[in-house]
C-alpha cells in the first residue's frame, strides 16, 4: 500500500486553478521526483501536501487516513516535513536554533537528531552559533534540509534544493538525500534539473500546467517522452 497518495488533487489561487486533479502515490522508502517547467504547479503540489493550501479531505491520503486540508502542524505531527522552496530559514535564529525548531511539532524517535544532522553536514557544527543569514547558499540549504530532518519525518518533501547552488555543492546535498533514503524515509524531490531528478529517483512524475503528463521509472523513460511531457505538444 502507498504511504501517501493524492486522488484528483486540485488547488486554486483565487479564481486561478493551479492543479487540475493530480493523482500520484509514493510507497514507503521510495524516492519520487517531480519535474516540470516554471509554473507547472510543483510547489503548489508540495504545499498542498504540507497543509499550506486548501484541499478536499479525500484528495490526500497518508498512511491510510485522509488528511487533505489538515493544518500544517497536524500534518507535520503525522510525519510529513518540508524543505521549502528558497530555504526560508529563520533569520533571527542561529544555525543550531534553526535546526532545533525543526522538531517543535513532532518529537519522534528515529535516526535524526542534532548530532546526526551535524554528522551529515559537519560544516554546520562549526557554524552552529552563527546567524543563518551569514552562511553561504549551500550551507543554508543544508540547514533547511537538516531542520526538516529533525522531526524524523516518514516523508520528506524537498522543493528545488539544488537551485542556484554550485555543482559541487549540489553533489553534497544529494549525497545527503542518499543517506536520508538509506535511513528509511520516503522522499519527494521537486527538481528543475532533469538529469539530477532521473539520477536520484525511483520514479518520476512530470507536471505540465497543473496536470501529470508523464509517470514512470527513469530506466523506462526515453528522453523524447520526457521532452514532450515537459514542454507539451
Amino acid at each position: 500500500m502507498a504511504l501517501l497518495s493524492t486522488n484528483g488533487l486540485t488547488a486554486f489561487y483565487g479564481d486561478f486553478q493551479a492543479l487540475y486533479g493530480i493523482s500520484s502515490e509514493i510507497s514507503e522508502g521510495e524516492t519520487v521526483a517531480i519535474i516540470g517547467a516554471n509554473g507547472a504547479g510543483k510547489t503548489t503540489y508540495l504545499s498542498a501536501l504540507a497543509g499550506l493550501r486548501a484541499a478536499g479531505r479525500s484528495m490526500i491520503e497518508f498512511d491510510g487516513s485522509q488528511i487533505g486540508g489538515e493544518k500544517p502542524a497536524r500534518i507535520l505531527s503525522l510525519g510529513i516535513a518540508m524543505v521549502p522552496e528558497g530555504r526560508r530559514l529563520f533569520p533571527s535564529l542561529s544555525v543550531e536554533e534553526n535546526l532545533l525548531v525543526g522538531n517543535y511539532g513532532r518529537k519522534a524517535k528515529g535516526p535524526w537528531s542534532l548530532e546526526a544532522v551535524y554528522r551529515l553536514f559537519p560544516i554546520l557544527r562549526e557554524r552552529r552559533r552563527q546567524n543563518s543569514s551569514s552562511l553561504s547558499g549551500g550551507q543554508q540549504q543544508m540547514v533547511a534540509v537538516g531542520r526538516a530532518l529533525m522531526s524524523n519525518p516518514r516523508l520528506l518533501l524537498c522543493d528545488e534544493i539544488s537551485l542556484g547552488l554550485a555543482p559541487s555543492v549540489v553533489k553534497d546535498i544529494y549525497a545527503a538525500i542518499a543517506s536520508i533514503r538509506a535511513s528509511g524515509a520516503s522522499v519527494i524531490v521537486v527538481e528543475q534539473n532533469i538529469n539530477q531528478a532521473l539520477e536520484v529517483a525511483d520514479r518520476v512524475y512530470c507536471f505540465l500546467e497543473g496536470r501529470v503528463t508523464l509517470e514512470g521509472s527513469p530506466v523506462n523513460l526515453t528522453m523524447n517522452q520526457i521532452r514532450s511531457a515537459y514542454f507539451g505538444g
Binding site: 504540507a50 500544517p72 521549502p84 526560508r88 532545533l100 525548531v101 517543535y104
Partner: protein, 287 residues
C-alpha cells in the same frame, strides 16, 4: 547635588516606563500588533489588584499574583477569540479593534468603579526611602526599577533559552514557515498576549501604587509606553529599558527646570530621537 538626585530619580522613573513599555514592545515584536488599548489594560490591571485588596481583603502581593493570573487568562482569550482574526497584511484592523477595546475598557471601568481616583496602598512602603550618601531614593522607585530588570531578564531567558521562546521568534520571523515546523501561530500569539498581559498586570501594580489612577488615564500612560519603545528601538527589550530610562531622565530633568515641563520634555526628547535616529537608539541590527 540636586542634579545627581534628579538623574537618579529620572533613571528610576525610567524603570516604571520600561515596565509600561515592555508588554507593548513584546506584542509588537512577535505579531506586529500595535495595541492601542495597552494603557487601558494597565489600568484594568491596577483595578484588578484593587479588587483583590479592597473586596477580597487580600494583601497587595497576593492581589497582584491573582491579577496577573486574571490578566494571563484574559490575554489568552482575547487573542484567541478576537485579535487573531484581525491579524494579516493590513495593519489597520488590529488598530481599529484595539481602539474599540480601549473605549470598552474605559467605560466598563467607569461603570464598575465610578470616575473616582484610586490608589493602591502598599502598607507604608511608599514612604520608605534609602539613603545613598547625600541622596535619598524611595524604596518604591528602586523596587520598580528592579522589577523592570527582572521582568526583562526573565523574558530574555524565555526567548533565548526555551523551546517556546524559539517558537515565538520563529513565528515573528516567518509565520508561514513556522507552521511547517508544527508551530500553531494562533496558539503562539495567544500565549504571547497572555504573557504580555502578565507584564501589563505588573505595570498596573506599580502604576496604581506609585500614583493615583482612575478609569480614564490609560491613553496618557500608553503614550509614555509608546515613546519608550520607539526611543529604545524596536526588537530588543533591553532597548526598551534604555528607552524608558531616556524618557524618565528627560522628564526628571525637565521637571527640575520647571515643574510644568515634565511631560513636555519627554515629548521633545522623543521627537528629537525620531528625527536623529528614526529607528530608535538601540535598534536590533538585521538578524
Amino acid at each position: 547635588m540636586i542634579w545627581v538626585d534628579t538623574i537618579v530619580q529620572g533613571i528610576m522613573l525610567g524603570g516604571l516606563y520600561a515596565l509600561f513599555a515592555t508588554g507593548l514592545s513584546l506584542i509588537f515584536g512577535i505579531m506586529r500588533l500595535v495595541n492601542l488599548a495597552h494603557g487601558d489594560f494597565m489600568v484594568l490591571g491596577a483595578f484588578a489588584v484593587l479588587v483583590g485588596v479592597e473586596s477580597l481583603g487580600l494583601g497587595i502581593i497576593a492581589s497582584a499574583i491573582l491579577a496577573g493570573a486574571f490578566m494571563f487568562v484574559l490575554g489568552y482569550a482575547l487573542q484567541h477569540l478576537l485579535l487573531n482574526r484581525t491579524l494579516g497584511k493590513d495593519l489597520l484592523p488590529p488598530l481599529l479593534v484595539t481602539f474599540g477595546l480601549s473605549i470598552i475598557i474605559q467605560n466598563g471601568l467607569l461603570e464598575g468603579f465610578s470616575a473616582d481616583t484610586q490608589r493602591l496602598k502598599a502598607g507604608g512602603f511608599e514612604e520608605v526611602s534609602v539613603q545613598f550618601g547625600a541622596i535619598s531614593v524611595g524604596a518604591m522607585p528602586i523596587l520598580t526599577f528592579c522589577s523592570a530588570v527582572v521582568v526583562i531578564l526573565l523574558l530574555n531567558w524565555l526567548f533565548y533559552r526555551t523551546e517556546t521562546g524559539r517558537a515565538f521568534r520563529a513565528t515573528s520571523d516567518d509565520p508561514v514557515t513556522a507552521q511547517l515546523m508544527g508551530i500553531d501561530n494562533n496558539r503562539i500569539f495567544s500565549l504571547a498576549m497572555a504573557l504580555a498581559m502578565v507584564v501589563v498586570a505588573i505595570a498596573g501594580l506599580y502604576l496604581g501604587a506609585r500614583a493615583t489612577f482612575d478609569p480614564l488615564i490609560g491613553p496618557s500612560r500608553l503614550i509614555f509606553a509608546f515613546e519608550a519603545v520607539i526611543i529604545g528601538g524596536l526588537g530588543s527589550l533591553w532597548g526598551t529599558l534604555a528607552g524608558g530610562v531616556v524618557l524618565g531622565l528627560a522628564q526628571a530633568i525637565g521637571a527640575q527646570v520647571n515643574p510644568e515641563w515634565q511631560t513636555l520634555a519627554g515629548h521633545i526628547v522623543f521627537l528629537a530621537v525620531l528625527i536623529v535616529k528614526p529607528r530608535g537608539l538601540f535598534p536590533r541590527t538585521a538578524g
